[in-house]
Subunit: 342 residues, 2 copies
């Protein structure tokens, strides 16, 4: 087995755990021979779920973990006190280099804290950003940071831009990805104190293809490949994106049910509408990576189905093969050396 | 004429100026006898446009202004140098108490600067927030602030909440409106430094009906009536709302044009779809007020049509009748006295 990617999967995290998580793992190993999944969670339970499926048995292993971290739990306390939780056990596998990557649909807060505390940051990385993909009219864009790093500094945003560009180019396959900073106007002099400080740093950076400010209105049109912002703004963008999309879709569907005429019309447009809305869905790309850590940590949606879990596991192979962390390390160390020379 | 509301309308500002602006003014005075419109702009041009319409002539007056402020101009410089612009002339009418209110579809930046510099703030108001209405599944919510007040302090957010509540209750007619602060989680301990500081101040305030944090995902569902945030976040919310809405609508429309079957279906659902999307449109309520100034300043969309201009002008009557500025003054002064007593 020359090049196997080992993925620790938190089988107990998420709205549809463990069934959809286990199913996603089964789908992944049935598609790819170069993956091994370590499922963490209640051994008895996971065995009974796995018994429903056919798969190459040497590619899935259960690692018993008796506790579960719930979404509502305070993250720091949960990570500290629940050492035998499926999430902490899976993260420790990455820490001990027994796994290359970690995938979970569980508590975002606990994943962010665990990533920093258990897996740990690459030397020189100041903050580890969470970087989900947003569906756009033309494909997908990477939104970085949506994590818990509120009140970021300009130097963090610069690192986010570099890490995001590497991910977008080598995992998503976008050549020389464009980078924009979220701003309240297109002009360079616009923005709050943080953006005004970060803008010239991004502009001067040779490692990225910075094209300036991006207004929120242009994001759904795919204006830039890597959307840089601090976590509070990123979180608002991510959640509003989902919220407006779901509300509008619901409103349109309800609207069509108003008369017999429109009901018949709705039946006729249904397949086209379904295909369109599927297009506007990023789960086919897998989950959101927490970048800059000593190993890959991937957060899928809390309501992830087996498809997203499967794609998240497969995404880890590309991450490993493309040596993303080594590339991040090189870029970060290079800029630190340049700073010393200055 | 016992109670006439005089509205100074910048007839040269906006994508469709002067035609749609003039048309909106005509529609307003044809609907209401208690409005007088002062149209500022090129007298020759406005006369020729007005000549197309029938309306009570004593209700519209042209005030000549030879210059125009363009959207791309730096706001502060434009306000200072273009004293004879339609925007500055109209704002000066409010300053000199020759008009109760100002309406413009022109440069947001120039309106924000002009509002503060020319019209001036009510005593005790620290910042004047721009407060557009967002369409939701259940009606509309007021988003405050979307203005140029970036890097706001917690005390500003508290004033925004008070002013927004007064507007929502007395102009939009929502009894005891709920107030939420935009946050990245529902729990009280979540947020960035600004939100963490503002949260307990909002919670302790007796003048508002504060219900806690609101996540961006819930905004389109009408989770709160008054959405409090600082201007950078507010601007992102406003523009992303428009962007996702327009992109998704376009995508759905294009998707329906893909096959003969869906094209026929599209024809059948068209009226229902149109009604639904019209529902998801706040222009029927008028423009966004810039609150806390010595007079009312209303910003309509840059691409406002006559309908939005007309509604914005009529909205000024309610604002005056309901004595909104007096109410704001009372609440602000009351809290200042309370602070002194503490």
């Amino acid at each position: 087995m020359p090049d196997i990617t080992v993925v620790a999967v938190d089988a107990m995290g998420g709205d549809h755990a463990p069934v959809e998580i286990v199913k996603g793992a089964v789908e992944a190993v049935n598609q790819r021979k170069d993956i091994k999944v370590l499922l963490t969670g209640s051994e008895v339970l996971l065995k009974s779920v796995l018994a429903e499926y056919t798969y190459p048995e040497n590619q899935i292993e259960i690692i018993d973990a008796k506790e579960v971290i719930e979404t509502a739990e305070p993250p720091v306390k949960a990570i500290r006190s629940k050492k035998d939780s499926s999430l902490v056990v899976a993260m420790n596998l990455v820490k001990k280099k027994q796994a290359d990557a970690f995938v979970s649909a569980g508590s975002t807060g606990a994943i962010l804290v665990g990533g920093q505390v258990i897996v740990g940051r690459i030397k020189g990385v100041e903050r580890a950003p969470l970087a989900p993909l947003l569906p756009t009219m033309t494909g997908v864009s990477l939104l970085i940071d949506c994590g818990a790093n509120v009140d970021a500094r300009a130097s963090h945003l610069l690192q986010f831009a570099k890490m995001g560009s590497i991910y977008m180019e080598h995992v998503i396959g976008k050549k020389n990805p464009t980078v924009g900073i979220v701003n309240i106007g297109a002009e360079e002099e616009k923005g709050n104190a943080l953006v005004k400080e970060a803008y010239p740093m991004l502009k001067a950076c040779k490692d990225i293809n910075f094209i300036g400010s991006v207004e929120a209105r242009e994001i759904p049109y795919g204006a830039v490949d890597v959307i840089v912002c601090e976590a509070f703004v990123g979180n608002v963008i991510l959640k509003l994106y989902e919220g407006v999309g779901s509300a509008l879709t619901k409103k349109i569907k309800n609207g069509m049910m108003g008369s017999l005429r429109s009901k018949i019309g709705a039946l006729l447009v249904k397949p086209a509408l379904k295909a369109t809305l599927k297009d506007f869905d990023s789960s086919g790309y897998g989950g959101a990576p927490l970048l800059g850590l000593n190993g890959l940590v991937v957060k899928t949606h809390g309501n992830a189905t087996s498809k997203e879990v499967c794609n998240s596991i497969i995404q880890c192979v590309t991450f490993k093969r493309q040596r993303i962390n080594e590339k991040i390390q090189e870029v970060i160390q290079l800029s630190q050396e340049e700073n010393k020379e200055d």
